[in-house]
């Protein structure tokens, strides 16, 4: 588990140190205060390379495709807004401490080279200053490994990813791919461990008899539900967005054993009556698989639904509140007892 996180020069964070992270970390704060940016920082740390940028652009609603033109400015525009106050001369530094598998630091900076290389046909107009950005990881054992993204005459080149720890980023802006859920479910099923997940879903939604991976009409393998009331199995996304979301989270939690699951806008798609029970089931699964959760929310309804779970397991909860008053975001941290007390006493914590 990550117990401690330091962030410098990343997005809206100039310098930040978060201590005492827990199993279930609930992130609140006004829009634009840095909730999603915190998830992104964790995603970069876990991912062992720059590849998350593609997913993050998608999650941020910047489009499914990332296209750049053959010039340094375009290349830099991919990364520019990751630097605090767009200061590209600075170095982004992220550091997690905790168990060895999750402890590491990452430094991100532009490469110092400036060689001119030909691009395309090689005419003067298409000459390109070679642009690179370096991701340098220092692992818990002190080993340093690097990974570089370069814009070359071959196009954009991503270096090989270094050691990762499992991380999945779930966002309402980009629903989890049904095929990926199918793969994860199948992975569980092959180990004969799918019944635990099916049982949780069945308990919350008694009209579901069973879950299995089947091919849909377009040839995609995805999770299907056998309902008591229907003779044929139905693709789960067609049964309910909320059930599909809950399954996505449970599968992600299992898949990310000893890693992290990042959930942006947790409440999204969950029926109010389900929020508390779903959260309890997700916490139980996270404890079982030793997965750490980072969950953002704006919803008072969701927070209140968490209260009984936080009261029962205060040591598993941490509340993180992001604020941004003067351009740089800060994060206040509160343990599960404080989190529960504020909810119980009906005080505003968002």
């Amino acid at each position: 588990m990550i117990q401690d996180l330091e962030i410098s020069n990343f997005r809206c964070f100039k310098a930040l140190h978060i201590r005492d992270l827990s199993r279930f970390n609930v992130i609140v704060g006004r829009s634009g205060a840095g909730k999603t940016a915190l998830l992104e920082a964790l995603f970069f740390l876990a991912s062992g390379g720059p590849q998350p940028i593609l997913k993050i652009r998608q999650l941020r609603g910047l489009g499914e495709k990332t296209s750049i033109s053959a010039d340094t400015r375009s290349f830099r525009s991919l990364w520019r807004d990751f630097f605090f106050d767009f200061d590209e001369a600075s170095t982004i530094e992220l550091r997690s401490r905790g168990t060895d598998e999750n402890a590491r630091s990452l430094r991100v900076s532009y490469g110092s080279d400036g060689a001119t290389v030909p691009f395309g046909e090689g005419s003067v107009d298409t000459l390109l200053r070679h642009a690179t950005i370096d991701f340098e990881y220092e692992m818990a054992n002190g080993r340093i490994v690097g990974c570089q993204v370069a814009l070359t005459n071959q196009g954009l080149s991503f270096g090989a990813m270094v050691e990762t720890f499992p991380a999945i980023f779930l966002s309402p802006a980009a629903r989890e791919d049904p095929e990926r859920n199918g793969q994860r479910f199948s992975f569980l099923s092959k180990r004969g461990e799918h019944e635990a997940v099916v049982s949780v879903i069945r308990k919350q939604f008694p009209f579901i008899e069973n879950l299995s991976v089947e091919y849909s009409s377009d040839g995609t393998a995805m999770v299907h539900a056998k309902l008591h009331s229907m003779s044929e199995k139905v693709p789960l996304p067609l049964v309910s967005d909320g059930i599909n979301k809950m399954l996505s989270i449970l599968l992600a939690v299992d898949y990310c054993s000893h890693g992290i699951v990042l959930i942006d806008e947790m409440e999204n798609g969950l029926y109010f009556d389900l929020m508390g029970r779903a959260s309890k089931a997700i916490l139980d699964a996270a404890r079982e698989s030793n997965t750490q959760l980072f969950v953002t929310t704006h919803s008072l309804e969701y927070l209140r639904a968490l209260l009984p779970v936080a009261q029962e397991h205060p040591d598993d909860f941490q509340l993180l509140r992001t604020t941004n008053d003067n351009g740089a975001s800060e994060i206040d941290c509160f343990d599960g007892r404080h989190f529960a007390a504020a909810l119980e006493e009906s005080l505003e914590i968002r």
């Binding site: 604020t323 007390a341 504020a342 006493e345 009906s346 005080l347 505003e348 914590i349």
Partner: protein, 219 residues
């Protein structure tokens, strides 16, 4: 005062008064109005047992940074020293400064708010909110005192054997029942909106509490 079931309590004022219950909130609010004191937010825990949880929750609240002074107004009940300690512990439990004496304001340190504790009816005296309310009623209607005493001593009752808090509550409800024509069953929280409210807000019975609030406002 917010409806706790619907919306969380939000505030902008720098002085936060934490009372035991809604009836205490109403008295403090009436006294603030009487004195034209500004800058107070008044809220309640769910009983004295929740002072610690409330202060813990308050320090977690997104409005906490606005709090420059935190005042606790509670009842001594029949255990003044235990109730004082309970309120005191609620502050120290969150590493807040805490006053040494009743109605004293302890200075804030290291960005933490100054704090104060007022126990009703007054220092080291058994009683509750109703003790003050009865005192105020009797200061205005002294003749009611004889009635209440007679009821207290009536052989058909055993009120004289009740503790100070229960007797104060009995006396308050009796006084309301026989004076508040528009709502004889009005409680301590609702009495203020009644036409025949027997409790004079200007009563000297509240002066010590008012002085405490004034001191907090003046700092």
């Amino acid at each position: 005062m917010a409806d706790k079931a619907v919306a969380p309590f939000r505030f902008d004022e720098p002085i936060y008064v934490l009372c035991e219950g809604p009836a205490d909130v109403r008295l403090v609010t009436e006294l603030l109005k009487r004195e034209h004191l500004q800058g107070f937010s008044v809220n309640f825990a769910k009983g004295y047992q929740h002072f610690a949880a409330h202060v813990r929750g308050l320090t977690t609240s997104s409005d906490w940074r606005k709090v420059k002074r935190l005042l606790i107004v509670g009842d001594n009940d029949t255990k003044p020293s235990a109730r004082w300690k309970n309120a005191h512990d609620a502050l120290t439990g969150e590493r807040l400064p805490a006053p040494d004496r009743h109605a004293q304001i302890a200075d804030g340190t290291h960005g933490r708010p100054s704090t104060g504790i007022f126990m009703m009816p007054s220092a080291d005296t058994a009683g509750a909110l109703e003790t003050l309310l009865v005192e105020a009623i009797l200061q205005k209607r002294g003749n009611l005192g004889d009635c209440l005493r007679q009821l207290d001593e009536c052989p058909a009752t055993s009120c004289d054997k009740w503790d100070a808090v229960k007797r104060a509550k009995m006396q308050f409800q009796t006084a309301v029942a026989i004076t508040c024509k528009d709502d004889p069953s009005a409680g301590a929280g609702h009495i203020w909106s009644k036409t025949h409210n027997p409790v004079p807000v200007a009563s000297p019975a509240f002066d010590e509490l008012v002085a405490f609030l004034r001191r907090a406002a003046a700092l």
